[in-house]
Symmetry: none
Subunit: 231 residues, 4 copies
């Protein structure tokens, strides 16, 4: 029942160190960005000496990449679970939003890393294109699939599932950014149930076609367009 080679004490210790260093790295990279972060500080915050880092990571860049990728993978995993457990498509959308919001709200520094990393990749032409990019695009794959299923099941009207998933992704991203932006108390901070608002907004946006000219308020609908909608 035990695994054939039980992790030795060293392995455990090594894993622990790596994890602690990554934690520290995420904090410092998040706070300062890649360039302004210093290995000295990362080491200090992890409670080790500068040189020690290099026993675990061969360079600052490697450490950064690993911290980023690990966070993205974790985020992706949590999102996936929550989305898959949702019974309806509406719940899935709400789950997507709240899963990511929750994750980032507990790791504000990581959100910053993440945003900066995406920013860094926008116009850059440097080497490794696929690695990071695929991690990004993977983030919406699950949701996209779920939307497609819901569309087939008649839960929503015919839309481009990928574009829809991206829209939800972007709204979530903006929501999180704003919650972290300037901290709480700022006038522009989203009110607590902005997530619910977004879900409703999207959900209604995905409803049956409304032709141009269709009145937009319930009141107007009641008075003027009942017949049209009934067709």
């Amino acid at each position: 029942m035990t695994s054939p080679t039980r992790p030795s004490k060293e392995d455990v210790l090594t894993a622990f160190r790596r994890s602690a260093l990554l934690e520290s790295a995420r904090r410092v990279f998040g706070e300062c960005g890649f360039e302004r972060a210093t290995m000295e500080r990362i080491a200090h915050e992890a409670g080790v000496a500068k040189g020690t880092i290099y026993l675990y990571y061969s360079s600052k860049q490697r450490m950064y990449d690993e911290a980023l990728n690990e966070g993205l993978a974790e985020l992706d995993g949590m999102t996936r679970v929550r989305v898959e457990q949702a019974p309806t498509l509406r719940d899935a959308i709400a789950a997507f939003i709240s899963a990511r919001t929750d994750y980032f709200l507990e790791r504000r520094e990581f959100f910053r890393m993440y945003v900066a990393a995406v920013a860094g990749h926008i116009t850059e032409r440097h080497g490794r294109p696929s690695e990071f990019r695929s991690l990004i695009t993977k983030q919406t794959r699950r949701l996209e699939a779920r939307i497609a299923r819901g569309m087939d099941a008649g839960e929503i009207r015919d839309v481009d599932p990928a574009a829809t998933a991206r829209a939800i992704f972007d709204l979530t991203r903006g929501l999180v950014a704003r919650k972290l932006f300037l901290g709480r108390g700022a006038a522009e901070t989203a009110h607590p149930d902005e997530a619910e608002f977004l879900t409703t907004l999207i959900w209604d946006g995905l409803g049956p076609d409304r032709r141009p000219g269709t009145p937009r308020t319930a009141a107007a609908t009641r008075k003027k367009t009942m017949t049209k909608r009934q067709r």
Copy 2:
């Protein structure tokens, strides 16, 4: 009718220099980010010597701030004009999206600057809090006002205008990012009329209330929920 002191030749030259330097700064900061950008290169691309920059900007940071703020102001101005010219709220939303998309697509380096700057401000506690932040929040003010007006006029149902404007803002931001992300031809690039898709999505999302449980497809509507909707 003329201004009391007509701009002297020197003033014109100075303005020209500052503008050329800012242009160059935007390009380099956009391409490299703040840290990796060098004054040397900014100077070179502007066709002046390194020391000359310091006659116009007291530090790299100041130059960066000014380049950023100027761009944001310009973007804001263009957006405002286009939004104000739109006859209906739907047109205003479409105008907001296209104005910003067009602007950024012609200045990808600036978009990168902008994104990085926002990222940099998310968790940071460093000094100047208001300046940049107010520029950001200003971006949605006009649209927010327009939405509020449209709401009052019954063009859309009752929503939080600020939250709605932010949603549109975020969707636009995501759209632009994706268009610049990995350049054209990438599988995940938005298809050409994603802007139209977003406008429709939002517009429909802003339509009359649909209660939970309401069927979402036109077909379903026809069959099952006609009575409910008519109430």
Copy 3:
């Protein structure tokens, strides 16, 4: 009468700086070797700040290479001139020895650089094979050619000119090393006219064949081998 583009003041200044830096580099590299030499110290000895070096040399290695190559070229040039001016082959050999001895004695630090560089190239397989190596082999080319000419002219017996040049080269190298080794006063320091001794040794070694068994002293010669030599 003036050259078409007279060297500008900057060019002169630049050349001067480069030369002063190279001088300093030669001193420090010579004293400490490549690894132990610090840019800090080279800069300090040249009377400039650390960063200034990098305005003239892109890296420590480049600086080292240039210092070495320049010295070798200069040494080669001086040797060539002296050798070519020598009327007889014997004089050429003596000139070769004394030219190099004189050169190195005035630049002991450079000799050390030179020796270390050769040592470093002995077993190494790293990149640039030809550059340095060709400079080394070039050192004996002139002498080799002169020896060949002297041989054709009957000044010496038939020998391998290249091997002979190399032998003279090695003897000179050893002579210099010893003169610099542990400074003056050491018991093993060569006596002043060791150069003359070497010249004679070589010169006699290059004389007409002496068959094995031939008596070696003048006395013996006089008594026993006169007839043989006359054959």
Copy 4:
């Protein structure tokens, strides 16, 4: 007759370890030079852990010194034996050359160490002057003595035995350097019997005085200078 305390098992093991470490050190120091050699690699090549080295050698420098001195002593021993076994002075010279050539050709890395070490001592004023220097000068002592004996026996003309021994030493050194320099196949590589050439060159150089003006080729001798030589 036996030593008072027979070497214990530990002593043997210790000796073995020290020897293995020295072997490894010689290889790595030879390949990389003192500075670029790492204790890590030396340990690895010796099959022990880094810390273990410090149980046998108190520092990198000490290890280097010992590796060097041991090698020099061994070289010296082998040379001495071969020289002493030579029946004639000519044989002794040939033996000196071949003994050292053979030794170094089997230990190229050590030759590099040796050359670098000598280079390092040329101008340096750092502490330990005598230790290394005496080892170097000892290298020629035996040969010098043998030459002196041969001179007394009339085998060669009157020369400075020390200077002569040094000349042979330098020629040998150059020969070896060239054989290792750039590996085989290079145009400038000495041809196989350069050792024999050197022996002859020296041997002839040590023959009876030839006065200035004396013709140098057998042919010339025959025609022009017979009378002079007979005087």
